[in-house]
Amino acid sequence: MVISWSELGEGLRIALNSLKANRLRTVLTTLGILIGVIVVTVIIAVIQGLNVYVSEELSSLGTDNVYISRYPWMITSYEEWLRVSKRKRITENQFRFIQKHSRHAGVVVPEIVTRRTSRYRNESLDRVQIIGTTEDYIATSNSLPEMGRFFGETDVGVRRAVCVIGREVADRLFRNENPVGRRMKIGGHSFLVLGVLEKRGQMFGHSMDNNAIIPYSTFEKLFGRHRSFEIQVKAGGAEFVDALRDELEGLMRRARGLGAGQENDFSINQQSQLMEVYNNLTRVLWIVLIGIGSIALLVGGIGIMNIMLVSVTERTREIGVRKAIGAKRRIILWQFLVESMFISGIGVTIGLLISIGIALFVKQVSPLPVHLSTWIIFLGIGFTVAIGMFFGLYPASKAARLDPIEALRYE
């Protein structure tokens, strides 16, 4: 189908004139397209934002880490909760057993957690997360000290009251002072600050920097020995993760004295499980996206088709005149296709502008890093052409096939 520049220009001119003459009608017609475009772009932007957000959040968990815990990370039913809530705690001995026998493990680290008020001079911070662990915690948590040092094996061995604090604790208790070498109070006990950790950001909305890390031996001496351990195991390499998982399951069953028929009374958690949950969530979003988006666009497209049929009928005489003086079918076809693409283009453009507005707003008021990039332009052009062409084709070809005599005689 060859169209000259003049014909193309005439098509655009006609489209513009007709839209100018029917402003309100045009805007109303584009409403469906507009809503469809908003739904589609906002959902895509949210999904893309979530992707970025979640992969950032989960990255601190490390892909080659395996976490042995009393409870699973995801509890999906009340029955499951009832079942797991009866589990016995994981003990220091079990940690030592794993440490001693696991062959696929690179590092094995215990973690016990509580919350305590921390003080330095007149400053005080409630509910600081206190983590009891060993010097190997650096390896499983990806947290390095940016000032001072982490505590060492001897500190753990002799139960020294030393700590490494998170960035937030350092900022809020020590203000502009360098905390390294100072003494602070944790839960009423005096601790020597050895180092400050790099900022780690948030995970699922809760700060990873509002903490103090201390030897687990010290933790048990000062805060009690009744807590359940979490055992963090880093595989010797990413390729061993699955083998490690199986091995840990066997070792834990032995350590906890489970018989052949008994179910596991502990959970082995991994980042990939969270990824799976997340992927299921986005799958639902995609289905909603495709569902609502295509319905809205279909409704919008039918609106365009309808208005184009009206337009063809209204301009039957004009089509007759154009044909009489030499317009061929494809020119008439093109004229109406341009018009329908123009209408869909208006809907798409307004829709995109509103979407951009929504995205910026969401970015402002929520932690979701909503993500809109240049793909949105291509998406817009694609929508415009596809909807305009598809729904404009029938009215346009109806116009193109009009008999000139009948068209000229039309009242």
């Binding site: 003049s6 014909e7 220009g9 079918r329 000229l408």
Partner: protein
């Protein structure tokens, strides 16, 4: 020979009934003739004009226009012939209401691919010829009936077609304005154009050199004036 109609029959089907609008027409028209077609209402004048103007094809018979047989051409081929060979002037003007006089006159040039630069000049030239030098930017609803018909005439002649066809061009005009349009046709004829017009009025037909009278889809009389 410019126009050669041989045994032209045009039937219309209205439900089960067949209307014989044209019943075997043989007409030859030469370059630079000025022909009036007359006849009672329903005698087939408009039908004949539509065939000559290549807006329609005959049920039977052959039509040679400028030596080529156009009786069996398809829609797009006819459109091209119309653009090149025919200029129409209608009773009800048939201008595009939202376009200026100038753009209305440019339209045939757009459809034959005349470059934009020449288009404007040609359209202006045609409008000057019909005496609308100072009305080029006006829309049809800003013009009088006579002026509208002048725009239509300018549009009809801008492509320098072989024939100008006018179906009751003065039917919607008062006598004085009608006469002005007829003077315009006279000028065009003197300038070498071939003109065929349909009219009910004897005094309008007086302008022509030859009058073809139709009755019931047949040529009743064909005589020079």
């Amino acid at each position: 020979m410019l126009i050669e109609l041989q045994g032209i029959v045009k039937d219309y089907r209205l439900g089960l009934e067949i209307v014989h609008a044209l019943n075997g027409i043989d007409i030859r028209i030469d370059q630079n003739e000025y022909v009036a077609i007359m006849g009672p209402s329903g005698s087939g004048k408009s039908t004949l004009m539509n065939l000559i103007g290549c807006l329609d094809t005959p049920t039977e018979g052959t039509y040679f226009l400028n030596g080529s047989n156009v009786s069996h051409m398809d829609d797009d081929q006819l459109a091209e012939i119309r653009n090149r060979e025919i200029g129409f002037v209608f009773q009800n003007f048939n201008l595009l209401p939202r376009a200026s006089a100038l753009h209305n006159v440019e339209l045939p040039l757009i459809y034959n691919g005349t470059p934009a630069s020449q288009r404007r000049d040609l359209a202006e030239e045609a409008l000057i010829k019909v005496g609308l030098k100072d009305r080029m930017g006006h829309r049809p609803n800003e013009l009088s009936g006579g002026q509208r018909q002048r725009v239509a005439v300018a549009r009809a002649l801008v492509n320098k077609p072989s024939i100008i066809l006018a179906d009751e061009p003065t039917g919607n005009l008062d006598t004085r304005t009608g006469d002005e349009i007829m003077d315009l046709f006279e000028d065009l004829h003197d300038g070498g154009n071939t003109i065929i017009l349909v009219t009910h009025e004897e005094y309008i037909a007086e302008h022509s050199d030859r009058i073809i009278r139709l009755r019931d889809g047949r040529v009743e009389r064909d005589e020079s004036n």
